[in-house]
Amino acid sequence: MKLRHSIPIILVVLYGVVPLLLQHNNYIMSILVASLTIAGIALAWSLLGNLGGMVSFGHAAFFGVGSYTSAILTMKMGVPVFPAILFGGIGAAIASIAVLPALRLAGPYFALAILAYANIFRILATEFTSLTGGAGGLLGIPLFPELFGFNFGSKLGSYLIITSIVLIFAVIYRMIRTSYHGFALLAMIEGEDSTRVVGVNSTFLKAMMLFLSAFMTGIIGAFNAHYINFLEPDYAFSGVWTMIPIVAAIFGGYRTLTGPIIGAIVVYTVDQLIFKALIPSGHQIILGALLTLMILFAPDGLIPLFSKKLSWARRVKENRSPQTGHIC
């Protein structure tokens, strides 16, 4: 309910206030775009983690496949940029078919199997020199085109594109979570066997979540390829694309919708502006420490922690049911 009321404000801020105030500050804009890129992956990661009940350490694989698919389609086959981004997502979803057998395996096995997949894709991208340019990478990937008299290739254009992508993802995520299938998926985490008994095709639903998560990550990867116009295997399949989204999602709370997005913006911005200045090489040590501390002291993330505190405070203020106050 509360979220619904604040939607117009969020839209005005994202599409009106931020571009108007910051569009001439290239540095801030590029940090915003990068943090929203991370937010997109974090959202896709927590979709798989929350609804699919699977922790993935290999989302870099989908990110890389998406970026390469889109880059190759635009460069070698002349596909326009926007459809190519969509195909990037589809490519990543197809790549995730290779991970399907891992769904049979329990939690830790899946997490590690997908880590191995990410490495396989990186090696393939390095070795298929004719298609991917090998270790030298791809240079001069087309920028976003000019459409309706607006140049989407600019910083502002890229910001608008990634904001829209992340918002659409959030809407899709929310629609699934509130649907019948989302209910079944959430029940499945509590007890997979008992949900199967009442007729939920759990493997199918999990596979769908994997496809969707890979598709989303692929789209983000494709966006990033056209945004920075350059790709090389070690960059596209870098562990950073797995690590920062995980830290962001855990930080914000991966079981919530807003948690991964806010977490990504906060974590990435603070990392770039403060940690990087403090420790130029190895600043991710703070992200590692953050992840460790979050798991130990607030495994549900900060957003649920805050909303719990808020609702508790409100209840105390209204003095309606003081008994339930300290149960939370």
Binding site: P108, A113, Y117, T292
Partner: protein, 290 residues
């Protein structure tokens, strides 16, 4: 050509020896405490950097670093266990993320302390070529194959014959019943972690003596150790040695017959194949999963 293949089989065997050292600690913790320590590779790497420090600063044989490596790796293992035991819910998945975070911390701590340069030993005694019949290798590789076999035997003896080893197995098969028999499960699991740290320190010194080290190697080591653990099957210590040799031979044959770039790919494809066809591994106990 056949001589070349024989030589690559031989070097695969030697590589397998030191892979086994890397994998043993992870396999031990995974099969007894039921936790995948994603920071295991970083523990090994840290021990390797101890060997580098000793050689570089005090101009000694890297093997002299062994006591220091033992202390550091065991200390890290104790810290990891202490942190894991504080997890309140969803221990299995949260411990994965927790050790992943510790891995990030260690990787970056290594990066900050020793920068991103690549290091390898310059000790002549270690690098001296040694020829047995038609096969040749570095002295260090042969030494650490021996160490590795010794470790497998010692670990097997410890788990099956010693009181603490049996306690570790008892806790892993039934925690509550073990408690009733007067075993303190926390202490036992801590011991398993310390033993894993000891194994990691041997692996680290072996790594520095036979290969090259760099800060980002940790994840690759963890992945390799996990691949071998799965290949061996959970709970099979001799299986780890056989699985490591299998991976080592497969990799070195790939290098000889195709190219060194896809060396890593062979191990992973083998791993995925085993995972899907024989989820219990080659030598694991048959157990229903999922």
């Amino acid at each position: 050509m056949s001589a070349l293949i024989l030589q690559s089989l031989y070097s695969g065997l030697l590589t397998g020896g030191y892979y086994a050292l890397i994998a043993l600690g992870l396999a031990l913790v995974f099969s007894t405490v039921k936790i995948i320590n994603l920071a295991h590779g970083e523990m090994v790497l840290l021990a390797a950097y101890m060997a580098y420090v000793m050689e570089n600063s005090f101009a000694t044989n890297p093997v002299v670093a062994m006591p220091l490596a033992l202390v550091i790796a065991s200390l890290i293992a104790v810290i990891i266990y202490f942190l894991i035991s504080r997890i309140k819910k969803h221990r299995e998945l949260n411990s994965l993320i927790l050790t992943y975070g510790i891995g990030i911390i260690l990787t970056n701590a290594i990066l900050i302390t020793w920068s991103a340069d690549i290091h390898s030993t310059s000790n002549e005694a270690m690098q001296k070529p040694i020829t047995i019949g038609p096969f040749s290798s570095m002295t260090s590789e042969l030494i650490f194959l021996g160490v590795s076999m010794l470790m497998v035997a010692a670990l097997w003896w410890w788990l099956t014959r010693s009181w603490y080893g049996r306690a570790v197995r008892a806790v892993s098969s039934n925690r509550d019943a073990a408690k009733l028999m007067g075993i303190n499960p926390q202490n036992t699991e801590l011991v398993a972690f310390i033993v894993a740290g000891i194994l990691a320190s041997f692996a680290g010194v072996a790594l520095y003596c036979t290969g090259v080290i760099q800060p980002s190697l940790g994840t690759a080591l963890t992945t390799k150790a996990f691949i071998i653990t799965v290949l061996a099957g959970i709970g099979s210590i001799p299986g780890v040695l056989i699985g490591s040799v299998l991976i080592g031979v497969a990799e070195s044959l790939t290098v000889t017959l195709y190219s060194s770039a896809i060396q890593e790919l062979t191990g992973m494809v083998l791993f995925l194949l085993v995972l899907f066809v024989l989820p219990n591994g080659l030598f694991g106990q048959t157990r229903r999963r999922g």
